[in-house]
Each structure stands twice: as structure tokens, then as C-alpha cells.
Amino acid sequence: MNKMIPIAYWRNRKVYTRMIGSKCKDCGAEFFPPVRVCKKCGSRNIEEKEMPRTGTLLAYTKLSEPAQEFKEYAPIYLGFIRLDNGVNVISMIADADEEKLKSGSRVQATVRKWTEDGKGGLIYYGYKFRVSD
């Protein structure tokens, strides 16, 4: 059973590992994940833009019953993060330590394994954020 759709993963890998989002060439607004049409001004003149890899944690939750592709890694921690360019992102938290997870904690993006298709299948890598000391 595929935990993710392999070809869809490949298609999106730059978003997942490098946090490539969008920037509107007309109004300058930035978005993550990428958009086809600017949500601010409606323009279709969109270019790729790599997001900053640092931000602030606004809220987090601990999920003891994740969806099936993450079931074996429970509990997983998810955070609502404001990146340093003002763009919000929801991400898994790596090396979660509940004592250090507070609204306002500074966080740093890294690349970790999201999941894999058993011992013989594909490994899916993507961004996670960890608290930077």
C-alpha cells in the first residue's frame, strides 16, 4: 500500500524538501504552498520563491491517532508556524519536547523522513520544524 502517491510526491518534492513557494510578480505577495493565481491581486504572473527556513511557533498539538500513513510514528506533533516572511505554514515538529514547545518559540526547518512504504517501498522526505535553541 502506498502511503503517498509516489508520482505526486516526486512532482511536489521541491515544495516538500526545499519549501519552494510562490511570489506574485505583480504585487509581491508570497505564498506557501505554491499558488496558481495570486490570492491578493488575482494575477497569474507567479514565480517560484524559496521560503525562509526560520519562524515562530504560534500553536501546536499532539496527535496520538494520525492518519494511516503516519500511524506507526504516533504520537506526532503538529505546529502552526509563522515564517519570518509572514507566511503561515502547518508542519510536523521534529524532536518534539513538550517543555520547549510554547507559543512564541523560535523554530528552524529541517528535512526528515515523513513516511515510507514498508521495507521495500519508497521513502518520502519532507520538511519538519524543530525548536532552535
Binding site: T17, R18, T110, V111, K113, W114, Y125
Partner: protein, 340 residues
């Protein structure tokens, strides 16, 4: 090998998790401990790709993000038998017009990467390359190697010397034989080894040979060096081989990490190199000798130039102080040792 290569950036990454060998011994022997106090282990969501990424990011940042044309990842815990971690890493780092591939030679694949990249740079084949050693070593449950089999990665950005480099790689040698001290067949999760045979005929014989080759080719002797870094399969061997070759405790001590993080296999000597480079000063010479079972040894003369102190940079030894201990159950779960 005469080389004309320089270290422009370096990075070491060790996962924050540790397990005490006392804890491992408690499970399998009801008491006691291993030769080392603790080892570093990767979290369930880490592997050599993620650790290579961390260490490479540090190294590239220190080197000013040059255009990398070759990436070699040395490891014996590749996530895929077919599909190089080097290719995945190249893609993630954004280097597609690059040679991205893996190497394997037990614990010395990292220094091989350093040697080969240095060769490519020295010959003018490429301008900049990235050499990485990374492993999430597999410790067979209840086996003595389970005490030391650890996880870690280190990356070196190599280019031609330009006066502003951090250090120069002046000379390197490689010595190889066919020695059955430790190996792993493709279908096995864990390696096999021949116990005490891994000592004198393997570790000691090969390191002694490569270092003597190094001295002979360069005309250098132990007292010429400020630091000596040897491969550390346990805390005792590097001290013993260092002493036999004429090095002092003072030269050896800064590079000794096994007691705290275990044996990080392909990353072993490169992580020690990163730690030493953090503290070394202009003109210091470093002798580095790795060992890979199978068997072989690479030895290097590295001469320190200088480094602009980067404001954000946290020395490796400081980063090592931030760790979390886990128990054997967590370790077994994370490292896939529990049959489901």
C-alpha cells in the same frame, strides 16, 4: 597522492538522542556496560539522507554556497541498495548539474569521499565538491557492537586553495587488502564480524600501514602534528594505535568522541575533524587516519589556514552537550528492531 585541495567549509551533525551502554547491557546481560558510556542514535524520522542534509547545509553555508559539481556520500547504511543517497541529496540541495553518487567501504567511505573529491579538485576536473560520511549503524541485538554502533554525519566542502581556505589537504594515502574482519551481505539487516580478529590483523595493521606510508611519502613525523585523529571503533583502540605510532595523549584527546557518541562509522573521523577544526589555529597540522573493515585505511595531512569567525556558528562540542537519553524500548522501536 599529492593533492592540491582545500577545505572551504565543514559541518558535523549528530542526532540529539543518546542511549547509555548501561541500558543496553541491562537488557541483554542484566548489568554492566559497554566500552563506551553512550552512543548517539537517529530518531525514527532520520536516516543518512536527512543527516547528510543537515551537515551539508552547515558546510555549504560556511563555504559561501559555491557551485558544487560533485557530491559523494559515503555510508554503509544506505536507505536504498539501488538509488544513491547522493542523487536525492543533490536534488534537495538544488544541484542537478552535478555528479551525485554514493560510496561504500565500511567505516572509511567518508574519508574516501574526501580523497576522491580532493583528487577531482586537484586535477582541475571540478572547482568545488562535497564529501560526506554518514551512517545509522546497525547494531545486532545482544552483540558487542550494539554498544558502539551509532549515528552521525559530517560534510566537507572542498575546492582549490585560494589563500582564504580553512585548511589545505596536502597529502593523502590509501592502503587496502582483502581482510574478512567485518562484512554485510545484501539480504542481512546486520553485519557479521570475527570478534578479536577485528583488532590486530584488521584495525591496527591497516592504520599502521597507511600512516607509515604517509610518513614515508611526506617525510613527516608525529611531532610535526598538533592533532592526530584516528578512527574510533571504541574508546581504547585509537589511543593504543596512536601511542604505537608515536603520538601523545595531548595530540589524540581532542579527536576522541567514542565515549560520548559511539562509533558513527563513515562519519567517524570526519566528525572528529570538524571538532578539531573548530579549535585549531593557523599553521596547525592534523594527521587523520580512518579505517574501514574489509579492509583499508586512508591517511591525510591537513594543514590549517584560517577562518573568519561566523557570528551564528555554534562550535560542535557545544552542540554535543544538548542531548536527550532514551531507553532500549524506544531505541528498538526507532531502529526497526521490533518484529511486527
Amino acid at each position: 597522492m599529492n593533492l592540491n585541495a582545500a577545505i572551504l567549509g565543514y559541518g558535523a551533525y549528530v542526532p540529539i538522542y543518546r542511549i547509555r551502554t548501561e541500558e543496553i547491557a541491562r537488557v541483554w546481560h542484566g548489568g554492566g556496560a559497554g566500552p563506551n558510556r553512550m552512543k548517539a542514535i537517529a530518531s525514527f524520522d532520520e536516516d543518512i539522507l536527512t543527516m547528510s542534509y543537515e551537515s551539508a547545509s552547515q558546510a555549504l553555508s560556511m563555504a559561501g554556497n559555491p557551485q558544487i559539481q560533485a557530491i559523494l556520500v559515503g555510508s554503509e547504511s544506505k536507505p536504498y541498495a539501488v538509488k544513491p543517497t547522493g542523487s536525492i541529496l543533490s536534488d534537495i540541495l538544488g544541484y542537478n548539474k552535478t555528479l551525485g553518487v554514493d560510496l561504500e567501504f565500511a567505516c572509511k567511505a567518508g574519508t574516501e569521499a574526501m580523497q576522491l573529491i580532493s583528487g577531482m579538485v586537484s586535477s582541475g576536473t571540478i572547482d568545488y565538491g562535497l564529501a560526506i560520511g554518514a551512517d545509522t549503524a546497525q547494531g545486532r541485538p545482544a552483540d558487542e557492537l550494539e554498544f558502539t554502533a551509532g549515528s552521525g554525519a559530517a560534510a566537507i566542502v572542498i575546492g582549490r586553495p585560494n589563500g582564504k581556505e580553512i585548511a589545505r589537504i596536502n597529502h593523502s594515502v590509501s592502503y587496502v587488502t582483502d581482510t574478512p574482519d567485518f562484512w554485510r551481505r545484501p539480504h542481512d539487516q546486520y553485519p557479521m564480524h570475527l570478534g578479536r580478529f577485528t583488532g590486530e590483523p584488521a584495525y591496527f595493521a591497516h592504520i599502521t600501514s597507511s600512516v607509515k606510508m604517509l610518513f614515508s611519502e611526506t617525510g613527516m613525523k608525529p611531532s610535526d602534528f598538533k592533532y592526530a585523529i584516528f578512527h574510533q571503533p571504541n574508546p581504547r583502540f585509537p589511543v593504543e594505535v596512536g601511542k604505537r605510532l608515536g603520538f601523545t595523549d595531548e595530540q589524540l584527546r581532542p579527536g576522541l568522541l567514542n565515549d560520548d557518541i559511539g562509533n558513527t562509522y563513515s562519519a567517524n573521523t570526519l566528525i572528529s575533524l570538524a571538532k578539531v577544526l573548530d579549535m585549531a589555529e593557523t599553521g596547525d597540522k592534523i594527521m587523520l587516519a580512518s579505517f574501514g573493515s574489509g579492509a583499508g585505511s586512508d591517511a591525510f595531512v591537513i594543514e590549517v589556514n584560517s577562518r573568519d569567525q561566523d557570528n551564528g556558528y555554534v562550535p560542535f562540542s557545544e552542540r554535543l552537550r544538548n542531548y536527550r537519553e532514551v531507553d532500549y524500548a524506544t531505541y528498538a522501536r526507532w531502529r526497526g528492531k521490533i518484529q511486527k
